[in-house]
Symmetry: C2
Subunit: 213 residues, 2 copies
Amino acid sequence: MRRLFHLLMSPRCRLARLALTEKRVPIELVAPDDPLAHLPVLIDDKRVITGLWAIIDHLEGAYPDPALFPEDAVERAESLRLLDWLMGPFNEEVTKRIVFQKAPQAHTGSLVRQPPDMQTLRLGRQALRAAFQMLGQLTDEHGFLASREMSLADLALAAHLSALDYFGEIPWSEFPALTDWYLRMKSRPAFRTLLGDRVPGQPPVAHYAVLDF
Amino acid sequence: MRRLFHLLMSPRCRLARLALTEKRVPIELVAPDDPLAHLPVLIDDKRVITGLWAIIDHLEGAYPDPALFPEDAVERAESLRLLDWLMGPFNEEVTKRIVFQKAPQAHTGSLVRQPPDMQTLRLGRQALRAAFQMLGQLTDEHGFLASREMSLADLALAAHLSALDYFGEIPWSEFPALTDWYLRMKSRPAFRTLLGDRVPGQPPVAHYAVLDF
């Protein structure tokens, strides 16, 4: 059995889970002993593959079907641009400021443990609105983020949004294009793995696992 | 002419520069209008390629020789593990806490601008020592970080270390194995691009561009 060491509310771990299930690779989810360790870690046939970059590379090589990137070079670069942006700047400006403050450190792997700060939360919500404007335009134009087909960029955004949505932090009604995209993502069989998530003592908002609003 | 929009003291930008010069792709370096933009950005034959992940992927596809990753699958995964760790946790725990405090925001792209904090600096230096212990063991064992050959993991570490070294933040004498590795990296022709760096008003330490100590 393949195993994935992961944290519930870490976007990198959530993305690895989505990529594995999209490729129909069955895995057992395991909580690590140390939430500050370098995660996610995939154990596949006794090989230990550590870190998102290595896991994606391994999956594309060992389980090429379905591919996680568009075939066209320009669309592939666009998918990678968004992946890089979502796991970098978007993570810093939005997810860390919101999810990393609301969820316990043991489930995010946050480097710092500090009392929730309203100003940080406000900055995160502001950055979320600016990002959603841009992301909604992309899904409106292409159907998915980088092209007409779903790619890793979509899974990366879904990894973040599902964590934000768990805490009721997404003003869906203001962003109809992105809501439509998210409902399509949510209906994919791969998404079921995330919809059962429960942070002990912090139940999700009522619509978290609902496939329609 | 190819152009790279970059920031002097951003490890992601420094890594893109090293990868480009290792592949002997001549580039013109350009400062972006907005240091908070998603960087680095490569303009190659009118194609705009944004973000480290997309740039590495593009370089490996368009300029396969020399390859930036080992051929062996296990060594390739190890190189990617270290790349992911260096651009993720190491960046958070070491480089941001030191370089992002010492260099101006316009040259790092740091999201926050705050007065230098001695406690953060101390935590960074402590994390640096712990990381160096582990990294020195790797170079001692393999010659380079992931294998006997240089790979992207080495360039990623060099990108960080050269920025830390610029500010005299590396206790070289305590880490002979890593010092030996860094001098080998520094002597590579690709490294010359970094050794000429100057942050206005902040000259580097005396040994920054010296190829021996």
